[in-house]
């Protein structure tokens, strides 16, 4: 039994690490969200709910709603693009399955910021796409891609689609192919079989993918910062600005706490669904 005790000690390095570098800063953020800014622009601890009132100020509510809207649009697009890709690789990839998956994952080894810059290079007024369009005579003027919601959502989709594809792939691959055949055998046309058999059988993967894309997308600031403009300002940008530009740490903290609570609701919803069904918890 001593050996079991002995192995239990190994929880300490990781436990201390998480306590010091995760739990403590989180508590500081929580504490600071009730504080205020002194005359020199420094955050001071205290107790006021002003920061939370500010979060729901009419100035900022559109930013919150926009973030949620963009994230939902991202989830839907990721699902629409990701499902066929995951389905194809899982069911028809054959021996190229892992090569295809690797091809999808490898770009994600590159930093998200750098990848998003690549989209700037492609989509800016003087970018590759516009030059090509003008040179081919398909467009008289460069088309404005950057600074539009489409560019921001596109950046989010590109940034997070892998988190949709991987769980989808997992659930499609694990599905018994004869279940699809059973659907067809029981008079389901290919479309009806997909709707009534394949889709419900892979709902665990769909749910996991949607949550995994939604969570980072709603708090993202990189895509909006690089590909967007003032009209596509997201809550992630707002928080970042409180900490780095506006120097209003208490307000930034309050925004962070509200975001985390909002996301926690989703997370709880997901975990409950996942534990009831046999969803994969990634």
């Amino acid at each position: 039994m001593t050996s079991k005790r002995f192995w239990d000690w190994f929880i300490f390095p990781g436990g201390v690490w998480i306590a010091l570098l995760f739990a403590v800063p989180l508590c500081l953020v929580l504490a600071l969200s009730f504080g205020h800014v002194d005359d020199f622009g420094r955050g001071v601890y205290g107790f006021t709910l002003d920061n939370y009132k500010d979060v729901f100020d009419p100035t900022y509510v559109p930013v919150l709603l926009r973030s949620v809207g963009y994230a939902l649009a991202t989830v839907i697009l990721c699902l629409l693009v990701g499902y066929p890709v995951a389905y194809f690789i899982a069911r028809h990839g054959g021996r190229y399955r892992y090569a295809l998956l690797a091809a999808l994952v490898i770009p994600f080894f590159v930093n998200y910021l750098v990848r998003t810059y690549a989209w700037v290079a492609l989509l800016s007024d003087q970018g590759l796409v516009n030059n090509l369009l003008v040179d081919l005579g398909l467009s008289q003027q460069p088309i404005q891609f950057i600074n539009t919601p489409f560019a921001v959502i596109g950046g989010l989709v590109y940034g997070y689609i892998i988190f949709m594809i991987l769980p989808l792939y997992g659930s499609i691959e694990r599905m018994d192919p004869s279940v699809i055949e059973a659907g067809k055998d029981l008079y389901g046309s290919p479309f009806r079989t997909f709707l009534h058999v394949t889709l419900p059988a892979t709902q665990a993967g769909i749910l996991a993918g949607c949550v995994l894309v939604f969570l980072p997308a709603v708090g993202d600031f990189v895509s909006a910062q690089l590909l967007g403009g003032p009209d596509t300002y997201m809550v992630g940008n707002l928080i970042q600005d409180q900490f780095f530009a506006a120097s209003n740490w208490p307000f930034g903290s309050a925004l962070t706490v509200i975001m985390m609570l909002f996301l926690a609701v989703w997370m709880v919803f997901y975990l409950r669904r996942a534990s009831r069904g046999e969803a994969e918890v990634l």
Binding site: D176, S178, E181, G183, D185, Y187, H196, A201
Partner: protein, 362 residues
């Protein structure tokens, strides 16, 4: 013969270079319990999948009640399948699973309710109608799969090793139940199995398949008693294979012994042929003692007991004959199983069988 439910005409199926089904010809009658029997890779499942519509034949025709169906997709064929893995819809309860086909066929709601109830009654699962598949035992899942197919009243029911995942006892019980259900509903069953006992006990007719072709097709008794080739004799039950030369007068010489064999019409004198004898048809007696198991009209040779395995229902003896060939005899406990009268290894014995129990293989 009753009306024809299925006709398979010169059907061949190739996957790349591999020929899974090779020029198969079969005719299955209405209401028949027909088994496709063979080892894995023999083409039996591919044949079944072509009947279901999951595979399209490379060549040949498939007629369902006279209509060619090779190009009809599965969801438009009036056949249903019971899958080896059952392939139940885990997101639906038992009723939902059973109602699936009727809903896709847009059957009226109240009729669906009645028919689902009937089907669950038939497979004795009415009490589990609201259960989820993952709450059911293997046998119950199997019944759901059966009800889900039968509720559609298909012209033909296809079963792909439906009992393969069950343990032996449940398997035996389900064999009896399946056969009873088939009699009750009167639907043509096409049953794929690699289990010879299952095929023998349930089928009206069996097609034994090997390497993509039908080796022999006929009623169980015929397949068992008159196998036409070594593969069938070996696959269905255990057989003793003996090689010999044909001699005049309908005899075959094996070593020093010359034994009478019926059904040698096709073979010419001097030809080398194979004959088979079932172990349970070989009788063994002590030398010098009164005949106990061997009957007067049996052909007899001498041999020696090489090994003995006690099986409970009898003894399995491996015998070495004078000419060096080996023979397995299954001695029933009804003949000679007194505790004080055990066979000993190395003992010399008299071995005999009725000439008509010799099977000539091509």
């Amino acid at each position: 013969m009753a009306e024809e439910a299925i006709r398979i005409e010169n059907v061949t199926k190739r996957f790349g270079d591999f020929t899974a089904v090779d020029d198969v010809d079969l005719s299955i009658a209405q209401g028949e319990f027909f088994s496709l029997l063979g080892p894995s890779g023999c083409g039996k499942t591919t044949t079944l999948r072509m009947l279901a519509g999951f595979e399209v034949p490379t060549a040949g025709r498939i007629l369902l009640e006279g209509d060619p169906v090779e190009d009809v997709p599965p969801h438009q064929r009036n056949v249903n399948m019971v899958f080896q893995s059952y392939a139940l819809f885990e997101h639906l309860d038992v009723q939902g699973n059973v109602a699936f086909g009727l809903k896709r066929k847009k059957v009226a709601k109240d009729e669906i309710v009645t028919r689902v109830a009937e089907a669950l009654e038939l497979v004795d699962l009415s009490s589990r109608a609201a259960a989820r598949p993952n709450e059911l035992s293997g046998g119950q899942r199997q019944r759901v799969a059966l009800a889900r197919a039968l509720v559609n009243r298909p012209r033909v029911l296809l079963l792909d090793e439906p009992l393969g995942a069950l343990d032996l006892k449940l398997r035996r019980q389900m064999q009896i139940e399946l056969k009873a259900i088939q009699r009750e509903v009167g639907i043509t069953f096409v049953y794929v199995t690699h289990d010879q006992e299952e095929a023998l006990s349930m089928s009206d007719r069996i097609a034994v398949m090997s390497d993509g072709r039908v080796a022999q097709c006929g009623p169980p008794e015929e397949i068992y008693e008159h196998p036409r080739e070594e593969f069938v004799a070996g696959f269905i039950g255990v057989s003793n294979l003996l090689e010999g030369k044909v001699e005049p007068g309908g005899k075959v010489r094996i070593g020093d012994d010359c034994l009478p064999v019926p059904g040698l019409d096709g073979a010419g004198n001097g030809d080398t042929i194979q004959i088979a004898v079932r172990p349970e048809k070989v009788a063994v007696d002590e030398i010098g003692a009164d005949a106990y198991a061997i009957e007067p009209d049996m052909f007899t040779v001498e041999g020696e007991i090489e090994s003995k395995v006690y099986l409970g229902v009898g003894n399995q003896l491996t015998l070495k004959l004078g000419n060096g060939s080996r023979l397995v005899a299954l001695e029933q406990a009804t003949y000679r199983m007194r505790a004080d009268e055990q066979w000993e290894v190395g003992q010399k014995v008299k071995v005999g069988w009725h000439p008509e129990h010799c099977m000539v293989l091509s």
